[in-house]
């Protein structure tokens, strides 16, 4: 029914994933990982998994990113790859 949205979201998810692991510094990686979670959330919504999407929005976008930022804040932003 809404497979176009799903497909697009899927592509964006994969792009985000690849970008997140190739980001040149960790702050960017964390931010892109946040976007990844957003996209994943959209993907799940499009699949009709509202509860999962809700959780992912709360976790992935909010808390995970905040935790990761906190960790990076307390360590270092530098990454070699």
């Amino acid at each position: 029914m809404i497979w176009e949205i799903k497909l697009l979201a899927l592509i964006l998810v994969i792009v985000c994933a690849i970008a997140a692991i190739n980001a040149k510094d960790l702050l960017s990686a964390a931010v892109i990982f946040g976007i990844y979670s957003f996209m994943m959330c959209v993907q799940w919504l499009a699949m009709g998994a509202v509860d999962v999407a809700f959780t992912e929005a709360a976790i992935g976008a909010g808390i995970s990113t905040a935790l990761m930022l906190a960790a990076i804040f307390r360590t270092s932003r530098r990454t070699k790859d």
Binding site: V50, D51, F54, T55, A58, I59, A70
Partner: protein, 277 residues
């Protein structure tokens, strides 16, 4: 390394793709996955638990033990963070204290802590990192935080009827506290929810869940059988289950909130719980 990794990954991926050969195709209504268990859940769960949100019904009731363990996992994570990175109290006292003059933004550094005068202090204690004060962010967040908290509670309470539940609500509630810490400073958060409270709260949440389970045992049923709530307040069996789910969700919410706040506090302050992100 990278090439080996790539090779391994591609091989594994190819194998996994090959093994999907016999999967029912996408969205097949007659696939075993949507027939056996799920059919029962969809068709029976409302009359058994009076909960229109099937996910909540299954999560809170049929697979209540899973959910309890999931709560325990969060609880564990908080304890784990505490055990791993919390520094001893005597190490946490900073050597220098910073005070900002609230009218001018000047910052004063002192070697020992000052008593701040009562109601409307001229000076306020600030982090060593970032003395400037951002009026906009602070007052916007003050405005927004109560609504976020309310929303969190709403999500917990309405898990039966709409997406959400204890976990999501708890996370949102915790997020409001994260916002508090981010917009003000960590000290404000710690002042509001100190370590003792968060730990007790996280344990209390799991205990509430556990207590509902034990209540079932006390009434001669199995552990976590919410059927034991039947008759409390003159309820029917199904609404007993519904109430059980609600209680359980509240417990989950408490634990999740407290645990995430604990984790955030510890991570952002590297275990000192004084200054943070």
């Amino acid at each position: 390394m990278k090439k080996t990794a790539l090779l391994a990954v591609i091989l594994t991926g190819a194998l996994l793709i090959l093994s999907m050969e016999n999967f029912p195709s996408w969205g097949d209504v007659q696939s075993p996955a949507s027939l056996h268990l799920s059919r029962h859940f969809i068709e029976k769960s409302y009359e058994q638990t009076l909960t229109p949100n099937l996910v909540t019904a299954v999560l809170g009731d049929y697979r209540g033990f899973d959910t309890m363990l999931e709560t325990v996992v969060v609880f564990t994570a908080a304890l784990a963070c505490f055990l791993v990175i919390r520094l001893p109290r005597d190490v946490c006292t900073p050597g220098l204290f910073y005070y900002r003059h609230t009218r001018t933004g000047l910052v004063v550094r002192k070697h020992d802590a000052c008593e701040l005068p009562g109601e409307n202090p001229t000076f306020e204690r600030v982090d060593s990192d970032w003395p400037p004060h951002d009026v906009v962010v602070v007052s916007t967040c003050r405005m927004v935080i109560p609504f976020i908290q309310l929303f969190g509670l709403y999500v917990v309470a309405h898990g039966h009827y709409s997406p959400g539940g204890g976990f999501q609500g708890g996370v949102i509630f915790a997020a409001s506290y994260v916002l508090l810490a981010v917009s003000h400073d960590l000290r404000t958060l710690v002042h509001r929810l100190n370590e003792r409270v968060t730990h007790l709260l996280s344990a209390a949440g799991v205990l509430l869940f556990f207590g509902v389970g034990l209540f079932g045992m006390a009434m001669g049923l199995n552990f976590l059988d919410y059927g034991a709530l039947e008759g409390v307040l003159g309820m029917s069996l199904a609404s007993g289950h519904s109430l059980g789910i609600l209680l359980v969700e509240i417990g989950v919410g408490m634990t999740v909130t407290a645990a995430l706040v604990i984790i955030f506090k510890l991570l952002s302050s590297r275990g000192t719980v004084t200054e943070g992100l």
